[in-house]
């Protein structure tokens, strides 16, 4: 009987880390914003079947153990104990693996709240279990409550200003038709595909993260 399903571990795939900055690049580089937010590591579909198999195995182990415990109480202790212990260790190990899997996925999903904002892209949602989507919504709510409670009128949006600001205005390029966009000083600009604009960084940061705009670095 195989006790751990290794495929569980592969549920979360890491993207290889970006190449390290060379010494000249330190401090010189403009903060480059993620393109379309797709630099996150990929979340594979929830391994429903796999997890269910583990649960079945645990049930089998547990039943076997109960029978053996009864036998042991009838007097055959010496022969039964090693088996019971071994199965119990296996049960605990399985529990730990499943919990680690569930928890790791949650962390990825929580990270997505910071990357994508409060609405999940459809392709990511497709890979989540229903309960995970629910968890994402609840986590979003929880975070929003906290951000609102930071003392100030309107709270402080912690998902903004992820990188230290280097300049007030940045040059951006439109990647898709987005329609009209009202700037802080009341002007209206048309965000048309392939058009270039010079905008306040704080205003268009969320559009960059959504993948509407691209920060052009020269």
């Amino acid at each position: 009987m195989s006790l751990i399903r290794h495929s569980l571990y592969v549920g979360v795939v890491e993207k290889p880390p970006p190449p390290p900055l060379t010494e000249e690049q330190y401090g010189e580089m403009e903060p480059k914003y993620p393109e379309g937010g797709h630099y996150l590591s990929v979340l594979r579909p929830h391994g429903d079947d796999c997890v269910r198999q583990v649960f079945e195995e645990m049930r089998a182990l547990f039943e076997q153990n109960q029978q053996d415990v009864e036998k042991a109480l009838d007097g055959a202790q010496a022969e039964m104990f090693p088996g019971i212990r071994m199965r119990h260790a296996a049960l605990e190990r399985n529990k730990r693996c499943v919990l680690a899997y569930v928890y790791n996925r949650l962390q990825k999903i929580a990270q997505m709240r910071w990357e994508f904002g409060s609405v999940l892209p459809a392709d990511i949602k497709y890979n989540l279990a229903e309960q995970e989507v629910q968890w994402f919504i609840k986590y979003t709510k929880c975070l929003a409550t906290y951000m609102r409670s930071v003392r100030a009128e309107g709270g402080l949006d912690l998902t903004q200003d992820l990188k230290p600001p280097k300049s007030l205005y940045i040059e951006v390029r439109c990647l898709m038709d987005h329609g009209e966009f009202e700037t802080q000083d009341g002007g209206v600009i048309l965000l048309k595909k392939n058009s270039q604009h010079f905008l306040l960084r704080s205003e268009c940061e969320h559009l960059i993260r959504q993948g509407v705009l691209e920060h052009s670095v020269h």
Binding site: L99, V150, L156
Partner: protein, 160 residues
């Protein structure tokens, strides 16, 4: 009409705060707290008074900018300054939040025994909510499908 020169700027330190601290001093304290928090592995004591003070400072600066003349060169300098302060503030609170998420159950356990609490009231609220979210998800996804003697989360194993 107010001119840009009325904007309280950190260097002139004209803004007196509760305990007679200038804006520049508050900013210095905030930076110190931010760096400490950033490089410490565990959650440090909360500095919500500094955060609050800086938030109101930012608001005041923003209002002053609204009143200032359009196209004035100094306005963009002040805007930049606000952006920088806001970055420090959010980064500071973000780091704390990440730590709270990581050590939720440990923090909630020790919080009751500490004399001066690490968490601010808002952070405590967040931690409790997060903890219950996590536990109910774990129960629904995994624990309730397990044999009855394994359905509990062991606090010794889960709280780091």
């Amino acid at each position: 009409m107010a001119t840009v020169d009325d904007i309280p700027f950190d260097e002139n330190g004209s803004e007196e705060e509760g305990e007679a601290m200038t804006a520049a001093e508050v900013l210095g304290k905030l930076e110190e707290a931010w760096l400490n928090e950033k490089f410490a592995p565990e959650l440090l004591e909360n500095k919500s008074d500094i955060v609050e003070c800086m938030m109101s400072q930012i608001q005041e600066m923003e209002e002053n900018i609204q009143r200032a003349k359009k196209g004035d060169f100094k306005v963009s300098l002040h805007r930049m300054e606000i952006d920088r302060i806001r970055y420090i503030l959010s980064s500071y609170l973000r780091i704390r939040l990440k730590k709270i998420e990581k050590f939720t159950s440990h923090l909630l356990q020790t919080e009751a025994t500490l004399e001066d609490p690490c968490l601010s009231a808002e952070e405590l609220h967040f931690a409790k909510q997060y903890q219950s979210l996590l536990e109910s998800h774990m129960t629904n996804m995994a624990l309730k499908h397990m044999p009855p003697n394994l359905q509990k989360l062991d606090p010794k194993l889960t709280s780091k």
